[in-house]
Point group: C2
Chain length 161, copies 2
């Protein structure tokens, strides 16, 4: 079976790093009353006011139902407002509330602190490199996921499965 060092398995290392960082963020953002995921929703909403849930879920690359319950909690807490879409009675339009707007700067600051912890001892070049490599990996993964998602999108004759 040969020794396999799971402590150096890419997937596990990536996942644990992300979990530890997320935990640090949540610890600090608790004072705001917001979790990491909720901050991310606000961050996107600021620049996409009026978007509907399906659209926002796609931006965040999460399932619509995952977002729906996030928004439930955030609406109840008064950070986000759902307004009916006048053009489409199925859909909601999402808006950040006035109450939530001042938190924006604090969120950025917390993100900066946690990032500094994670990347302490990194040179500016190394910080750039890890960011670029992560962005490429993320794109690879969403491309592969998208590919699997569209099994019969373009049934061109002759394009055998």
């Amino acid at each position: 079976m040969a020794e396999f060092d799971f402590n150096r398995s890419f997937g596990f290392v990536l996942y644990e790093t992300a979990r530890l960082l997320s935990k640090r963020f949540d610890q600090r953002s608790k004072s705001l009353g917001l979790t990491r995921a909720q901050c991310q929703v606000l961050a996107y909403l600021v620049y996409h006011e009026g978007i509907n849930q399906a659209g926002l879920a796609e931006l965040l690359e999460i399932e619509p139902i995952s977002l729906a319950r996030l928004i439930d909690r955030m609406a109840q807490a008064g950070w986000v407002e759902r307004r009916p879409d006048p053009q489409d009675r199925r859909a909601w339009q999402l808006f950040i509330t006035e109450k939530a707007k001042p938190l924006f700067a604090e969120m950025i600051e917390i993100g900066r602190e946690v990032r500094a912890e994670a990347l302490s001892g990194f040179s500016p070049q190394e910080s750039d490199v890890i960011m670029e490599l992560l962005l490429r990996a993320r794109r690879n993964l969403s491309d592969h996921a998208a590919k699997d998602d569209v099994p019969a999108a373009d049934p061109v004759p002759g394009a055998a499965e």
Copy 2:
């Protein structure tokens, strides 16, 4: 407020990359009947048979209660066995079952595939670099977490708080 590109926020990018990769792993490992987290438990158990839950939770850097419920499910599924520690009636000793051992090679193969997806287009050097940088970031984060955990570990006189 200045434009802030959350799509390039280190924390969000790291978290999303890890989530997408984890999702891919889970999709593939479903045929084994195991999730990513359960694979990780098995991977550690193979080399630490007889360890107790507190010890394994520390290796995995998760909370003991998180592991307890993981083990509940895995024991029920027959992948892991809990045996009472003869020396300590509070503790369980954990063992991987015979039924689970053959899955090991498959887990490694799935990990390899998912890693290849994530790192497609990466040169061998780039693959090494992202791994090393992630390991450094992970260590940074666990060091910082540990530091916060021990508020009065070494009350050296003169070491003002």
